[in-house]
């Protein structure tokens, strides 16, 4: 079966099913329905999956997560060294993708928390909400309005504008 999600990051709320306290002799329809579902749907699907897995287990393939070497940034390139510019741009694009995925993960955590807590999410999920706000604010300030044709040089210019604004504000 495929790997389950990380239980530490997405904790399950405590189960609230009460202890079985049968007071009638009549059969429990919920129990009948669960057993029916199990035998008609769950068991065939699980056996199908197990047969396919047993066929597949003879040729097991693995894939890896590619790690890229760090190259000099755009600020460390000599002027006119276009190959250095290209490598820095590619590295910036990879980092941009990684940052987008980070934001998605933090957003997913906040959504899971809201789903878990129900109507009392605003007071119970303050950590997730605060983390999400911080991450999105940083992402917006770094990659915010660069648009579809963003590249490393434009992002660097945006950073320069930010630094100039901060300096003007502090001065």
């Amino acid at each position: 079966m495929p790997n389950d999600y990380d239980k530490a990051v997405y904790p399950e709320p405590p189960r609230q099913t009460p202890a079985v306290d049968k007071q009638t002799a009549l059969p429990n329809p919920a129990l009948i329905l669960t057993k029916l579902f199990y035998y008609t749907v769950d068991l065939p699907v699980t056996t199908f999956r197990d047969t396919i897995d047993s066929i597949r287990s003879k040729n097991k393939l693995v894939y890896y997560h590619q790690k890229f070497r760090r190259v000099p940034y755009l600020t460390d390139c000599q002027e006119g060294d276009f190959t250095c510019y290209y490598e820095a741009d590619m590295q910036w694009r990879r980092d941009y993708k990684v940052d987008q995925e980070i934001v998605k993960v933090i957003q997913e955590r906040m959504r899971a928390c809201q789903q878990r807590e129900g109507h009392s999410y605003q007071q119970n999920c303050t950590k997730e909400i605060q983390q999400f706000n911080e991450v999105t604010k940083n992402f917006q300030s770094r990659y915010g309005d660069l648009g579809a044709y963003a590249n490393a040089k434009r992002c660097l210019m945006k950073q320069k504008e930010r630094m100039m604004a901060a300096q003007a504000q502090s001065a």
Binding site: I52, R56, L61, V62, Y63, Y64, F82, Y86, E87
Partner: protein, 185 residues
């Protein structure tokens, strides 16, 4: 006789005026017989074979037949291949890179067909990267050469001693100096 022919023509005229009206069949008007609806054929055994006149659907059926044929001609083998790959080979699982092992470039993809395409058809991403860097390098060198050419031209024109701005003049030895020996001719 004349009266009968008059009636017959009148009935035909009435039928022609309103051919779609129910009781206006020419024979019906003339004889005004009531159609007998209580004695109809209740058992449809060998019904009379009718030649139903409708437009031809030969071309439509041929088109759909050919469409299905040509789509399924390659569609079915592809579907069978993809199903067989998914059942018998299956997708790859994510694993950590073992120590000291450099994975091949196709081992970074999940689906076996993607891996096969990347391995056999595409170039490795390192090669693509190097191709782009080589193109950039060639263009940079071209640009640098053009800039140096312009600079050399500027310098030669300025100093006047560069080979590009030499104007060919006739040979010094060809000058006939004899008129200069008698200046006041």
């Amino acid at each position: 006789m004349v009266g009968m022919s008059l009636l017959r023509s009148a009935a035909a005229f009435a039928a022609r005026l309103g051919p779609l009206k129910a009781g206006n069949n020419a024979a019906n008007i003339l004889a005004r017989t009531i159609p007998r609806t209580n004695k109809v054929a209740t058992r449809w055994g060998h019904g009379k074979k009718m030649f139903v006149v409708k437009p031809s659907n030969f071309y439509d059926r041929r088109f759909l037949h050919l469409l299905r044929y040509y789509i399924l001609l390659t569609g079915i083998p592809v579907a069978v291949l993809v199903t067989a790959v998914n059942i018998f080979i299956g997708e790859a699982e994510l694993a950590d890179i073992p120590e000291g092992y450099e994975p091949e470039y196709w081992e970074y993809y999940k689906h076996p067909i993607t891996r096969w395409i990347v391995r056999n058809i595409y170039d490795s991403p390192v090669k693509d990267y190097e191709k782009v860097m080589a193109a950039i390098q060639i263009e940079k060198e071209k640009g640098d050469m053009r800039l140096t050419q312009l600079e050399v031209r500027r310098q030669m024109r300025h100093h006047g001693d560069g080979p590009w701005f030499h104007v060919p003049t006739p040979d010094k030895a060809l000058i006939d100096n004899s008129p200069k020996s008698s200046p006041d001719n």
